[in-house]
Protein backbone atom coordinates (compact mmCIF):
# COMPACT_ATOMS: atom_id res chain seq x y z
CA UNK A 1 0.00 0.00 0.00
CA UNK A 2 1.16 3.56 -0.52
CA UNK A 3 2.64 5.28 2.48
CA UNK A 4 -0.06 6.17 4.93
CA UNK A 5 -2.63 4.03 3.19
CA UNK A 6 -4.98 1.67 4.93
CA UNK A 7 -4.88 -2.03 4.14
CA UNK A 8 -8.52 -2.34 3.19
CA UNK A 9 -10.74 -0.35 0.92
CA UNK A 10 -12.73 2.30 2.74
CA UNK A 11 -16.44 1.97 3.35
CA UNK A 12 -17.07 4.49 0.60
CA UNK A 13 -15.87 2.03 -2.02
CA UNK A 14 -17.25 -1.08 -0.38
CA UNK A 15 -20.44 -2.26 -2.06
CA UNK A 16 -22.24 -3.01 1.17
CA UNK A 17 -22.25 0.45 2.66
CA UNK A 18 -22.15 3.77 1.00
CA UNK A 19 -21.51 7.12 2.64
CA UNK A 20 -21.29 7.93 6.31
CA UNK A 21 -24.39 10.05 6.30
CA UNK A 22 -22.48 12.85 7.98
CA UNK A 23 -23.56 16.25 6.75
CA UNK A 24 -21.09 18.49 8.53
CA UNK A 25 -18.35 20.03 6.45
CA UNK A 26 -14.84 18.84 7.17
CA UNK A 27 -12.82 21.80 8.47
CA UNK A 28 -9.98 23.06 6.31
CA UNK A 29 -11.60 22.31 2.97
CA UNK A 30 -11.93 25.30 0.70
CA UNK A 31 -15.18 26.14 -1.04
CA UNK A 32 -15.47 23.91 -4.08
CA UNK A 33 -13.75 25.37 -7.11
CA UNK A 34 -16.10 26.02 -10.01
CA UNK A 35 -16.18 23.19 -12.52
CA UNK A 36 -15.28 25.63 -15.30
CA UNK A 37 -12.00 27.40 -14.41
CA UNK A 38 -12.26 31.00 -13.35
CA UNK A 39 -10.83 33.92 -15.29
CA UNK A 40 -7.78 33.02 -17.31
CA UNK A 41 -6.05 35.15 -19.96
CA UNK A 42 -8.53 34.08 -22.63
CA UNK A 43 -11.61 34.93 -20.59
CA UNK A 44 -10.11 38.27 -19.50
CA UNK A 45 -9.51 39.05 -23.18
CA UNK A 46 -13.13 38.04 -23.82
CA UNK A 47 -14.37 40.48 -21.18
CA UNK A 48 -12.18 43.25 -22.65
CA UNK A 49 -13.36 42.61 -26.21
CA UNK A 50 -17.00 42.50 -25.10
CA UNK A 51 -16.51 45.71 -23.11
CA UNK A 52 -15.01 47.55 -26.10
CA UNK A 53 -17.67 46.36 -28.52
CA UNK A 54 -20.46 47.11 -26.05
CA UNK A 55 -19.02 50.60 -25.55
CA UNK A 56 -19.03 51.25 -29.31
CA UNK A 57 -22.53 49.80 -29.69
CA UNK A 58 -23.84 51.94 -26.82
CA UNK A 59 -22.21 55.06 -28.33
CA UNK A 60 -23.90 54.25 -31.63
CA UNK A 61 -27.24 53.84 -29.83
CA UNK A 62 -26.74 57.18 -28.07
CA UNK A 63 -25.69 58.96 -31.28
CA UNK A 64 -28.70 57.65 -33.20
CA UNK A 65 -30.98 58.66 -30.35
CA UNK A 66 -29.43 62.17 -30.27
CA UNK A 67 -29.65 62.68 -34.02
CA UNK A 68 -33.21 61.40 -34.09
CA UNK A 69 -34.23 63.67 -31.24
CA UNK A 70 -32.50 66.70 -32.80
CA UNK A 71 -34.09 66.04 -36.18
CA UNK A 72 -37.52 65.89 -34.55
CA UNK A 73 -36.77 69.15 -32.74
CA UNK A 74 -35.67 70.95 -35.92
CA UNK A 75 -38.75 69.72 -37.72
CA UNK A 76 -41.06 70.69 -34.90
CA UNK A 77 -39.53 74.14 -34.40
CA UNK A 78 -39.78 75.11 -38.04
CA UNK A 79 -43.22 73.59 -38.52
CA UNK A 80 -44.86 75.45 -35.68
CA UNK A 81 -44.46 78.89 -37.31
CA UNK A 82 -45.52 80.56 -40.56
CA UNK A 83 -44.60 84.03 -41.79
CA UNK A 84 -46.68 86.72 -43.42
CA UNK A 85 -44.50 89.00 -45.52
CA UNK A 86 -45.76 92.46 -46.58
CA UNK A 87 -43.80 94.30 -49.22
CA UNK A 88 -43.77 98.10 -49.16
CA UNK A 89 -45.42 100.07 -51.96
CA UNK A 90 -46.30 103.59 -53.04
CA UNK A 91 -48.82 105.32 -50.74
CA UNK A 92 -49.02 102.19 -48.67
CA UNK A 93 -49.83 102.27 -44.94
CA UNK A 94 -47.50 99.55 -43.74
CA UNK A 95 -48.53 99.74 -40.08
CA UNK A 96 -52.23 99.36 -40.91
CA UNK A 97 -51.47 96.47 -43.25
CA UNK A 98 -49.36 94.76 -40.59
CA UNK A 99 -52.08 95.16 -37.99
CA UNK A 100 -54.77 93.88 -40.35
CA UNK A 101 -52.69 90.85 -41.34
CA UNK A 102 -51.94 90.14 -37.67
CA UNK A 103 -55.61 90.33 -36.62
CA UNK A 104 -56.76 88.22 -39.57
CA UNK A 105 -54.18 85.55 -38.87
CA UNK A 106 -54.76 85.57 -35.09
CA UNK A 107 -58.49 84.93 -35.58
CA UNK A 108 -57.95 82.01 -37.96
CA UNK A 109 -58.72 78.50 -36.64
CA UNK A 110 -55.54 76.55 -35.82
CA UNK A 111 -53.52 79.70 -35.14
CA UNK A 112 -52.33 80.22 -31.60
CA UNK A 113 -51.12 83.75 -32.05
CA UNK A 114 -49.61 86.30 -34.42
CA UNK A 115 -46.88 88.82 -33.69
CA UNK A 116 -45.58 91.73 -35.75
CA UNK A 117 -41.79 91.92 -36.02
CA UNK A 118 -41.13 95.50 -34.94
CA UNK A 119 -38.84 98.00 -36.63
CA UNK A 120 -35.96 97.52 -34.20
CA UNK A 121 -36.20 93.75 -34.44
CA UNK A 122 -36.23 93.96 -38.24
CA UNK A 123 -33.13 96.18 -38.19
CA UNK A 124 -31.43 93.71 -35.90
CA UNK A 125 -32.33 90.87 -38.28
CA UNK A 126 -30.81 92.75 -41.23
CA UNK A 127 -27.75 93.98 -39.40
CA UNK A 128 -25.53 90.96 -40.20
CA UNK A 129 -25.99 91.64 -43.91
CA UNK A 130 -26.47 95.40 -44.19
CA UNK A 131 -24.46 96.63 -41.21
CA UNK A 132 -25.43 98.99 -38.44
CA UNK A 133 -26.79 102.50 -38.95
CA UNK A 134 -29.26 101.26 -41.46
CA UNK A 135 -31.59 103.91 -42.91
CA UNK A 136 -34.65 101.79 -42.47
CA UNK A 137 -37.14 104.17 -44.10
CA UNK A 138 -34.93 104.73 -47.14
CA UNK A 139 -34.96 101.07 -48.12
CA UNK A 140 -37.94 99.03 -49.37
CA UNK A 141 -37.64 96.53 -46.58
CA UNK A 142 -40.54 94.06 -46.34
CA UNK A 143 -42.07 93.62 -42.89
CA UNK A 144 -43.00 90.35 -41.24
CA UNK A 145 -45.77 88.96 -39.07
CA UNK A 146 -44.86 85.69 -37.30
CA UNK A 147 -47.82 83.34 -37.00
CA UNK A 148 -47.62 80.64 -34.34
CA UNK A 149 -49.63 77.61 -35.34
CA UNK A 150 -51.16 74.87 -33.26
CA UNK A 151 -49.02 71.82 -34.09
CA UNK A 152 -51.72 69.43 -32.97
CA UNK A 153 -54.38 71.02 -35.20
CA UNK A 154 -52.61 73.19 -37.80
CA UNK A 155 -54.64 75.70 -39.86
CA UNK A 156 -55.64 75.16 -43.43
CA UNK A 157 -52.70 77.07 -44.95
CA UNK A 158 -54.26 77.51 -48.42
CA UNK A 159 -57.38 79.13 -46.90
CA UNK A 160 -55.22 81.31 -44.63
CA UNK A 161 -53.10 82.31 -47.64
CA UNK A 162 -56.19 83.23 -49.70
CA UNK A 163 -57.63 85.28 -46.83
CA UNK A 164 -54.40 87.22 -46.25
CA UNK A 165 -53.65 87.84 -49.93
CA UNK A 166 -57.31 88.83 -50.59
CA UNK A 167 -57.49 91.29 -47.69
CA UNK A 168 -53.98 92.76 -47.42
CA UNK A 169 -52.30 94.18 -50.51
CA UNK A 170 -48.65 93.22 -51.17
CA UNK A 171 -48.91 90.37 -48.65
CA UNK A 172 -47.80 86.79 -49.04
CA UNK A 173 -47.77 83.81 -46.68
CA UNK A 174 -44.80 81.48 -46.27
CA UNK A 175 -45.76 78.32 -44.37
CA UNK A 176 -42.12 77.05 -44.44
CA UNK A 177 -43.38 73.89 -46.14
CA UNK A 178 -40.39 73.78 -48.48
CA UNK A 179 -37.99 73.98 -45.51
CA UNK A 180 -39.97 71.51 -43.46
CA UNK A 181 -39.97 68.99 -46.31
CA UNK A 182 -36.23 69.39 -46.78
CA UNK A 183 -35.57 69.08 -43.08
CA UNK A 184 -37.85 66.06 -42.72
CA UNK A 185 -36.03 64.43 -45.59
CA UNK A 186 -32.63 65.34 -44.11
CA UNK A 187 -33.64 64.17 -40.64
CA UNK A 188 -34.93 60.88 -41.98
CA UNK A 189 -31.74 60.35 -44.01
CA UNK A 190 -29.60 61.13 -40.96
CA UNK A 191 -31.60 58.73 -38.82
CA UNK A 192 -31.44 55.99 -41.45
CA UNK A 193 -27.65 56.45 -41.73
CA UNK A 194 -27.39 56.32 -37.94
CA UNK A 195 -29.51 53.17 -37.77
CA UNK A 196 -27.39 51.57 -40.51
CA UNK A 197 -24.22 52.34 -38.55
CA UNK A 198 -25.89 50.97 -35.42
CA UNK A 199 -26.85 47.76 -37.25
CA UNK A 200 -23.25 47.39 -38.49
CA UNK A 201 -21.85 47.97 -35.01
CA UNK A 202 -24.35 45.52 -33.49
CA UNK A 203 -23.50 42.94 -36.16
CA UNK A 204 -19.81 43.40 -35.37
CA UNK A 205 -20.69 43.09 -31.68
CA UNK A 206 -22.60 39.85 -32.24
CA UNK A 207 -19.81 38.31 -34.35
CA UNK A 208 -17.11 39.48 -31.95
CA UNK A 209 -18.96 38.05 -28.95
CA UNK A 210 -19.50 34.73 -30.75
CA UNK A 211 -15.88 34.35 -31.90
CA UNK A 212 -14.37 35.67 -28.67
CA UNK A 213 -16.52 33.26 -26.65
CA UNK A 214 -15.56 30.34 -28.86
CA UNK A 215 -11.92 31.38 -28.61
CA UNK A 216 -12.08 31.57 -24.83
CA UNK A 217 -13.80 28.18 -24.75
CA UNK A 218 -11.23 26.44 -26.91
CA UNK A 219 -9.00 26.28 -23.84
CA UNK A 220 -11.75 24.44 -21.98
CA UNK A 221 -12.02 21.52 -24.39
CA UNK A 222 -10.34 19.15 -21.93
CA UNK A 223 -12.80 20.13 -19.19
CA UNK A 224 -15.71 19.24 -21.46
CA UNK A 225 -14.11 15.88 -22.28
CA UNK A 226 -13.37 15.01 -18.66
CA UNK A 227 -16.91 15.89 -17.59
CA UNK A 228 -18.27 13.84 -20.48
CA UNK A 229 -16.21 10.81 -19.52
CA UNK A 230 -17.04 10.93 -15.81
CA UNK A 231 -20.70 10.61 -16.74
CA UNK A 232 -21.98 14.19 -16.81
CA UNK A 233 -25.05 14.77 -18.91
CA UNK A 234 -24.81 17.19 -21.83
CA UNK A 235 -27.26 19.60 -20.21
CA UNK A 236 -25.20 19.70 -17.02
CA UNK A 237 -21.96 20.46 -18.90
CA UNK A 238 -23.65 23.12 -21.03
CA UNK A 239 -25.15 24.74 -17.91
CA UNK A 240 -21.77 25.00 -16.19
CA UNK A 241 -20.15 26.77 -19.12
CA UNK A 242 -23.20 28.86 -19.87
CA UNK A 243 -23.35 30.28 -16.36
CA UNK A 244 -19.62 30.99 -16.32
CA UNK A 245 -19.58 32.80 -19.68
CA UNK A 246 -22.90 34.56 -19.07
CA UNK A 247 -21.22 36.30 -16.13
CA UNK A 248 -18.24 37.25 -18.32
CA UNK A 249 -20.60 38.60 -20.98
CA UNK A 250 -22.66 40.64 -18.52
CA UNK A 251 -19.52 41.93 -16.83
CA UNK A 252 -18.03 43.03 -20.17
CA UNK A 253 -21.37 44.55 -21.19
CA UNK A 254 -21.62 46.44 -17.89
CA UNK A 255 -18.11 47.86 -18.30
CA UNK A 256 -18.78 48.95 -21.90
CA UNK A 257 -22.30 50.21 -21.20
CA UNK A 258 -21.17 51.96 -18.03
CA UNK A 259 -18.32 53.71 -19.88
CA UNK A 260 -20.74 54.84 -22.60
CA UNK A 261 -23.16 56.18 -19.96
CA UNK A 262 -20.31 58.13 -18.37
CA UNK A 263 -19.48 59.59 -21.80
CA UNK A 264 -23.13 60.62 -22.30
CA UNK A 265 -23.22 62.30 -18.89
CA UNK A 266 -19.89 64.08 -19.52
CA UNK A 267 -21.07 65.40 -22.89
CA UNK A 268 -24.35 66.63 -21.37
CA UNK A 269 -22.40 68.27 -18.53
CA UNK A 270 -19.99 69.91 -20.97
CA UNK A 271 -22.87 71.16 -23.13
CA UNK A 272 -24.66 72.59 -20.09
CA UNK A 273 -21.52 74.41 -18.94
CA UNK A 274 -20.59 75.77 -22.36
CA UNK A 275 -24.03 76.72 -23.62
CA UNK A 276 -23.11 80.42 -23.56
CA UNK A 277 -19.83 80.03 -25.45
CA UNK A 278 -19.74 80.20 -29.29
CA UNK A 279 -18.86 76.46 -29.45
CA UNK A 280 -21.70 75.63 -27.12
CA UNK A 281 -24.14 77.72 -29.12
CA UNK A 282 -23.04 75.99 -32.29
CA UNK A 283 -23.50 72.57 -30.72
CA UNK A 284 -26.80 73.53 -29.21
CA UNK A 285 -28.02 74.87 -32.57
CA UNK A 286 -27.51 71.40 -33.99
CA UNK A 287 -28.28 69.13 -31.08
CA UNK A 288 -30.51 71.19 -28.80
CA UNK A 289 -29.58 70.77 -25.15
CA UNK A 290 -27.36 67.77 -26.03
CA UNK A 291 -29.27 65.66 -23.52
CA UNK A 292 -29.29 61.93 -24.23
CA UNK A 293 -32.86 60.74 -23.88
CA UNK A 294 -34.24 57.85 -21.87
CA UNK A 295 -34.33 55.85 -25.11
CA UNK A 296 -30.53 55.87 -25.27
CA UNK A 297 -30.21 54.61 -21.71
CA UNK A 298 -32.77 51.91 -22.49
CA UNK A 299 -30.61 51.08 -25.52
CA UNK A 300 -27.53 50.74 -23.30
CA UNK A 301 -29.45 48.36 -21.05
CA UNK A 302 -30.65 46.41 -24.09
CA UNK A 303 -27.05 46.11 -25.37
CA UNK A 304 -25.91 44.68 -22.02
CA UNK A 305 -28.78 42.17 -21.99
CA UNK A 306 -28.11 41.27 -25.64
CA UNK A 307 -24.41 40.69 -24.93
CA UNK A 308 -25.15 38.48 -21.92
CA UNK A 309 -27.74 36.49 -23.85
CA UNK A 310 -25.45 36.06 -26.87
CA UNK A 311 -22.52 34.94 -24.75
CA UNK A 312 -24.61 32.36 -22.92
CA UNK A 313 -26.25 31.11 -26.11
CA UNK A 314 -22.93 30.85 -27.98
CA UNK A 315 -21.43 28.96 -25.05
CA UNK A 316 -24.32 26.52 -24.92
CA UNK A 317 -24.22 25.90 -28.67
CA UNK A 318 -20.41 25.46 -28.61
CA UNK A 319 -20.54 22.99 -25.71
CA UNK A 320 -23.33 20.95 -27.27
CA UNK A 321 -21.52 20.99 -30.62
CA UNK A 322 -18.31 19.79 -28.93
CA UNK A 323 -20.20 16.96 -27.25
CA UNK A 324 -21.90 16.06 -30.51
CA UNK A 325 -18.48 16.06 -32.13
CA UNK A 326 -17.20 13.63 -29.50
CA UNK A 327 -20.17 11.37 -30.23
CA UNK A 328 -19.65 11.70 -33.98
CA UNK A 329 -16.04 10.63 -33.57
CA UNK A 330 -17.27 7.74 -31.51
CA UNK A 331 -19.54 6.68 -34.35
CA UNK A 332 -16.91 7.29 -37.03
CA UNK A 333 -13.47 6.36 -35.69
CA UNK A 334 -11.81 7.26 -39.00
CA UNK A 335 -12.61 10.95 -38.81
CA UNK A 336 -9.48 13.01 -38.87
CA UNK A 337 -10.82 16.59 -38.67
Amino acid sequence: MPKGAGSRLPRSVGPWKKGTGEKSRVPGLRTLAPIVPNANAASQALILVIAIMSFLACLAVGAVSLVNKSAETWQSQIAREATIQIRPGDDFDMDAALEKARSLAAGFPGVRGARIIGRDETVALLEPWLGSGLGFDELPVPRLVVVTVDEAAPPEFSALRDTIIGSVPNASLDDHRAWVDRLVSMARTTTVIGVCILVLVLTALVLTVIFATRGAMSGSQHVIEVLHFVGARSGFIARQFQTRFLLSGIWGGLIGGGAATVVFLLVSWWAARNIITPEGEQASAFFGDFAIGAGAYAGVFAVIVLVGFLTALTTRITVLRTLRDIDDRRADPGRLD
Binding site: M1, P2, K3, G4, A5, G6, R8, L9, P10, R11, S12, V13, G14, P15, K18, G19, T20, E22, K23, S24, R25, V26, G28, L29, R30, L32, A33, I35, P37, N38, H222, V223, E225, V226, L227, H228, F229, V230, G231, A232, R233, S234, F236, I326, D327, R330, A331, P333, G334, R335, L336
Partner: protein, 263 residues
Protein backbone atom coordinates in the same frame (compact mmCIF):
# COMPACT_ATOMS: atom_id res chain seq x y z
CA UNK B 1 -37.47 -11.47 -7.34
CA UNK B 2 -35.10 -8.97 -8.88
CA UNK B 3 -34.09 -11.51 -11.52
CA UNK B 4 -37.74 -12.23 -12.27
CA UNK B 5 -38.48 -8.54 -12.59
CA UNK B 6 -35.40 -7.98 -14.77
CA UNK B 7 -36.49 -10.78 -17.05
CA UNK B 8 -40.06 -9.53 -17.29
CA UNK B 9 -39.09 -5.99 -18.25
CA UNK B 10 -36.57 -7.15 -20.83
CA UNK B 11 -37.84 -6.80 -24.41
CA UNK B 12 -35.60 -9.63 -25.57
CA UNK B 13 -37.22 -11.91 -23.04
CA UNK B 14 -40.65 -11.31 -24.53
CA UNK B 15 -39.25 -11.59 -28.03
CA UNK B 16 -37.77 -14.97 -27.14
CA UNK B 17 -41.16 -16.05 -25.79
CA UNK B 18 -42.88 -14.94 -28.98
CA UNK B 19 -40.26 -16.58 -31.25
CA UNK B 20 -40.75 -20.06 -29.83
CA UNK B 21 -44.10 -20.39 -31.60
CA UNK B 22 -44.53 -24.18 -31.66
CA UNK B 23 -44.22 -24.65 -27.88
CA UNK B 24 -47.20 -23.96 -25.58
CA UNK B 25 -47.12 -20.44 -24.12
CA UNK B 26 -46.52 -21.56 -20.50
CA UNK B 27 -43.60 -23.72 -21.63
CA UNK B 28 -42.14 -20.91 -23.71
CA UNK B 29 -42.49 -18.52 -20.80
CA UNK B 30 -40.78 -20.89 -18.37
CA UNK B 31 -37.95 -21.68 -20.78
CA UNK B 32 -37.27 -18.00 -21.61
CA UNK B 33 -37.42 -17.03 -17.97
CA UNK B 34 -34.87 -19.71 -17.11
CA UNK B 35 -32.56 -18.46 -19.89
CA UNK B 36 -32.89 -14.86 -18.68
CA UNK B 37 -32.14 -15.79 -15.07
CA UNK B 38 -29.17 -17.88 -16.16
CA UNK B 39 -27.77 -15.02 -18.23
CA UNK B 40 -28.10 -12.70 -15.25
CA UNK B 41 -26.34 -15.16 -12.94
CA UNK B 42 -23.46 -15.78 -15.31
CA UNK B 43 -22.97 -12.05 -14.94
CA UNK B 44 -21.40 -10.86 -18.16
CA UNK B 45 -20.81 -7.16 -17.86
CA UNK B 46 -19.43 -6.71 -21.34
CA UNK B 47 -19.45 -9.06 -24.29
CA UNK B 48 -17.66 -8.69 -27.65
CA UNK B 49 -18.70 -10.86 -30.58
CA UNK B 50 -16.61 -10.79 -33.76
CA UNK B 51 -15.79 -7.15 -33.28
CA UNK B 52 -13.70 -5.38 -35.89
CA UNK B 53 -12.57 -1.79 -36.06
CA UNK B 54 -10.74 0.26 -38.61
CA UNK B 55 -9.89 3.95 -38.65
CA UNK B 56 -11.21 5.44 -41.88
CA UNK B 57 -10.04 3.48 -44.89
CA UNK B 58 -7.01 2.06 -43.08
CA UNK B 59 -6.43 -1.60 -42.17
CA UNK B 60 -8.42 -3.20 -39.40
CA UNK B 61 -6.89 -2.37 -36.04
CA UNK B 62 -9.00 -5.06 -34.37
CA UNK B 63 -10.18 -8.22 -36.15
CA UNK B 64 -12.82 -10.70 -35.03
CA UNK B 65 -12.32 -9.93 -31.38
CA UNK B 66 -14.61 -12.01 -29.15
CA UNK B 67 -14.51 -12.13 -25.38
CA UNK B 68 -16.52 -11.21 -22.35
CA UNK B 69 -15.79 -9.51 -19.06
CA UNK B 70 -17.50 -11.45 -16.25
CA UNK B 71 -18.59 -9.82 -13.04
CA UNK B 72 -15.89 -9.59 -10.36
CA UNK B 73 -13.20 -10.77 -12.79
CA UNK B 74 -9.62 -9.58 -13.01
CA UNK B 75 -7.74 -9.50 -16.28
CA UNK B 76 -4.76 -7.98 -17.95
CA UNK B 77 -4.98 -6.69 -21.48
CA UNK B 78 -1.56 -6.76 -23.03
CA UNK B 79 0.32 -6.78 -26.29
CA UNK B 80 3.06 -4.88 -28.05
CA UNK B 81 2.87 -1.11 -28.48
CA UNK B 82 0.40 -0.18 -31.18
CA UNK B 83 -1.41 -3.52 -30.90
CA UNK B 84 -4.71 -1.77 -30.16
CA UNK B 85 -4.95 -1.94 -26.37
CA UNK B 86 -6.09 1.66 -25.99
CA UNK B 87 -8.52 1.22 -28.89
CA UNK B 88 -10.00 -1.83 -27.23
CA UNK B 89 -10.33 0.08 -23.94
CA UNK B 90 -12.07 2.90 -25.79
CA UNK B 91 -14.53 0.39 -27.21
CA UNK B 92 -15.11 -0.94 -23.68
CA UNK B 93 -15.73 2.59 -22.50
CA UNK B 94 -18.08 3.39 -25.39
CA UNK B 95 -15.97 6.25 -26.68
CA UNK B 96 -15.69 4.35 -29.98
CA UNK B 97 -18.14 2.24 -31.92
CA UNK B 98 -16.99 -0.88 -33.79
CA UNK B 99 -17.09 -0.95 -37.56
CA UNK B 100 -18.46 -4.48 -37.36
CA UNK B 101 -19.49 -7.05 -34.79
CA UNK B 102 -21.65 -6.86 -31.70
CA UNK B 103 -20.80 -5.32 -28.34
CA UNK B 104 -23.15 -5.86 -25.44
CA UNK B 105 -22.62 -3.64 -22.40
CA UNK B 106 -24.73 -4.22 -19.30
CA UNK B 107 -27.08 -6.32 -21.44
CA UNK B 108 -27.55 -3.53 -23.97
CA UNK B 109 -26.52 -3.68 -27.59
CA UNK B 110 -24.07 -0.82 -27.99
CA UNK B 111 -25.43 0.03 -31.44
CA UNK B 112 -28.85 0.63 -29.94
CA UNK B 113 -27.77 2.85 -27.04
CA UNK B 114 -29.12 6.39 -27.31
CA UNK B 115 -26.63 9.25 -26.74
CA UNK B 116 -28.70 10.44 -23.76
CA UNK B 117 -28.28 7.02 -22.15
CA UNK B 118 -24.47 6.99 -22.45
CA UNK B 119 -23.73 9.12 -19.34
CA UNK B 120 -25.81 6.76 -17.19
CA UNK B 121 -23.93 3.71 -18.47
CA UNK B 122 -20.55 5.45 -18.16
CA UNK B 123 -21.30 6.06 -14.50
CA UNK B 124 -21.13 2.29 -14.02
CA UNK B 125 -17.62 2.17 -15.49
CA UNK B 126 -14.54 3.70 -13.88
CA UNK B 127 -11.73 4.69 -16.20
CA UNK B 128 -8.12 5.53 -15.43
CA UNK B 129 -6.76 7.29 -18.48
CA UNK B 130 -3.15 6.91 -19.50
CA UNK B 131 -2.76 10.70 -19.38
CA UNK B 132 -4.83 10.93 -16.13
CA UNK B 133 -7.09 13.76 -17.40
CA UNK B 134 -7.21 15.59 -14.10
CA UNK B 135 -8.53 19.15 -13.97
CA UNK B 136 -5.62 21.40 -13.04
CA UNK B 137 -7.70 24.11 -11.39
CA UNK B 138 -9.21 21.67 -8.90
CA UNK B 139 -7.53 20.21 -5.84
CA UNK B 140 -7.03 16.47 -5.48
CA UNK B 141 -10.10 16.36 -3.24
CA UNK B 142 -12.23 18.18 -5.81
CA UNK B 143 -10.98 16.03 -8.69
CA UNK B 144 -11.85 12.83 -6.86
CA UNK B 145 -15.29 14.16 -5.89
CA UNK B 146 -16.03 15.32 -9.45
CA UNK B 147 -17.96 12.23 -10.62
CA UNK B 148 -20.30 12.59 -7.64
CA UNK B 149 -20.62 16.31 -8.15
CA UNK B 150 -21.72 15.88 -11.77
CA UNK B 151 -24.34 13.42 -10.56
CA UNK B 152 -25.83 16.29 -8.58
CA UNK B 153 -24.80 15.09 -5.11
CA UNK B 154 -24.29 17.57 -2.31
CA UNK B 155 -20.70 17.92 -1.17
CA UNK B 156 -21.67 17.18 2.41
CA UNK B 157 -22.94 13.76 1.34
CA UNK B 158 -19.64 12.61 -0.15
CA UNK B 159 -16.80 14.55 1.44
CA UNK B 160 -16.03 11.88 4.06
CA UNK B 161 -16.02 9.19 1.39
CA UNK B 162 -13.60 11.19 -0.74
CA UNK B 163 -11.28 11.89 2.18
CA UNK B 164 -11.37 8.26 3.25
CA UNK B 165 -10.58 7.09 -0.27
CA UNK B 166 -7.73 9.58 -0.59
CA UNK B 167 -6.28 8.27 2.67
CA UNK B 168 -6.58 4.77 1.31
CA UNK B 169 -4.57 5.62 -1.81
CA UNK B 170 -2.00 7.35 0.38
CA UNK B 171 -2.87 10.93 -0.47
CA UNK B 172 -4.65 11.86 2.75
CA UNK B 173 -2.10 14.55 3.49
CA UNK B 174 -2.25 16.15 0.05
CA UNK B 175 -5.94 16.83 -0.39
CA UNK B 176 -5.37 20.54 -1.05
CA UNK B 177 -2.67 20.02 -3.67
CA UNK B 178 -3.31 20.89 -7.29
CA UNK B 179 -2.45 18.33 -10.01
CA UNK B 180 0.40 20.36 -11.59
CA UNK B 181 2.49 19.95 -8.43
CA UNK B 182 1.95 16.18 -8.15
CA UNK B 183 4.35 13.46 -9.23
CA UNK B 184 3.33 10.95 -11.89
CA UNK B 185 2.55 8.32 -9.27
CA UNK B 186 0.42 10.72 -7.26
CA UNK B 187 -1.51 11.76 -10.33
CA UNK B 188 -2.03 8.13 -11.14
CA UNK B 189 -3.48 7.48 -7.68
CA UNK B 190 -5.75 10.51 -7.93
CA UNK B 191 -7.02 9.23 -11.28
CA UNK B 192 -7.62 5.80 -9.75
CA UNK B 193 -9.45 7.31 -6.77
CA UNK B 194 -11.63 9.35 -9.12
CA UNK B 195 -12.48 6.21 -11.08
CA UNK B 196 -13.39 4.35 -7.88
CA UNK B 197 -15.33 6.95 -5.95
CA UNK B 198 -18.76 5.94 -7.22
CA UNK B 199 -18.19 2.19 -6.87
CA UNK B 200 -18.09 1.25 -10.55
CA UNK B 201 -19.03 -2.25 -11.61
CA UNK B 202 -16.01 -2.38 -13.84
CA UNK B 203 -12.71 -0.52 -13.74
CA UNK B 204 -10.68 0.07 -16.92
CA UNK B 205 -7.11 1.22 -16.42
CA UNK B 206 -4.86 2.19 -19.31
CA UNK B 207 -1.18 1.65 -18.44
CA UNK B 208 -1.78 2.52 -14.78
CA UNK B 209 1.81 1.74 -13.88
CA UNK B 210 3.38 3.38 -16.89
CA UNK B 211 4.49 6.49 -15.01
CA UNK B 212 5.59 5.02 -11.70
CA UNK B 213 8.56 3.09 -10.36
CA UNK B 214 8.39 -0.61 -9.51
CA UNK B 215 7.48 -0.32 -5.81
CA UNK B 216 4.69 2.10 -6.64
CA UNK B 217 3.50 -0.17 -9.45
CA UNK B 218 3.24 -3.04 -6.95
CA UNK B 219 1.32 -0.86 -4.54
CA UNK B 220 -1.12 0.14 -7.26
CA UNK B 221 -1.53 -3.49 -8.28
CA UNK B 222 -2.42 -4.43 -4.71
CA UNK B 223 -4.92 -1.60 -4.76
CA UNK B 224 -6.59 -3.05 -7.86
CA UNK B 225 -6.60 -6.55 -6.35
CA UNK B 226 -8.26 -5.28 -3.19
CA UNK B 227 -10.84 -3.50 -5.27
CA UNK B 228 -11.48 -6.67 -7.25
CA UNK B 229 -11.82 -8.67 -4.05
CA UNK B 230 -14.66 -6.35 -3.12
CA UNK B 231 -16.55 -7.11 -6.32
CA UNK B 232 -15.41 -4.77 -9.07
CA UNK B 233 -14.33 -6.30 -12.37
CA UNK B 234 -10.91 -4.94 -13.34
CA UNK B 235 -9.28 -4.66 -16.76
CA UNK B 236 -5.71 -3.41 -16.75
CA UNK B 237 -4.09 -2.58 -20.06
CA UNK B 238 -0.33 -2.90 -19.69
CA UNK B 239 2.78 -4.15 -21.42
CA UNK B 240 4.60 -4.57 -18.11
CA UNK B 241 5.29 -8.34 -17.98
CA UNK B 242 6.79 -8.04 -14.51
CA UNK B 243 3.53 -6.65 -13.21
CA UNK B 244 1.47 -9.42 -14.80
CA UNK B 245 3.74 -12.13 -13.42
CA UNK B 246 2.84 -11.09 -9.90
CA UNK B 247 -0.80 -12.11 -10.28
CA UNK B 248 -2.35 -15.27 -11.50
CA UNK B 249 -5.01 -13.63 -13.59
CA UNK B 250 -6.60 -13.94 -16.98
CA UNK B 251 -4.47 -12.48 -19.77
CA UNK B 252 -5.91 -11.05 -22.95
CA UNK B 253 -3.13 -10.68 -25.47
CA UNK B 254 -3.63 -8.48 -28.50
CA UNK B 255 -1.39 -9.10 -31.45
CA UNK B 256 -1.85 -7.96 -35.04
CA UNK B 257 -5.38 -6.91 -34.21
CA UNK B 258 -6.42 -10.32 -32.93
CA UNK B 259 -7.06 -11.33 -29.37
CA UNK B 260 -5.93 -14.46 -27.60
CA UNK B 261 -7.07 -15.23 -24.10
CA UNK B 262 -5.15 -17.25 -21.53
CA UNK B 263 -7.33 -18.11 -18.56
Amino acid sequence: MIEMYAALVNRRFWKAVADAGSVPFAGRLLYSFAIAVLANRTGRLIKFENVGLRYGMGPEVLRDVSFHIPKQSFQFLTGPSGAGKTTLLRLLFMSLRPTRGLITIFNKDMAMIEPAELPLLRRRIGVVFQDFRLLDHMTIYENVGLPLRVRGKEESSYQHDVLELLKWVGLGERIHALPPVLSGGEKQRVAIARALIDQPEILLADEPTGNVDTPMAQRLLRLFLELNRLGTAVVIATHDLGLMDQVDARRMILSNGQLEIYE
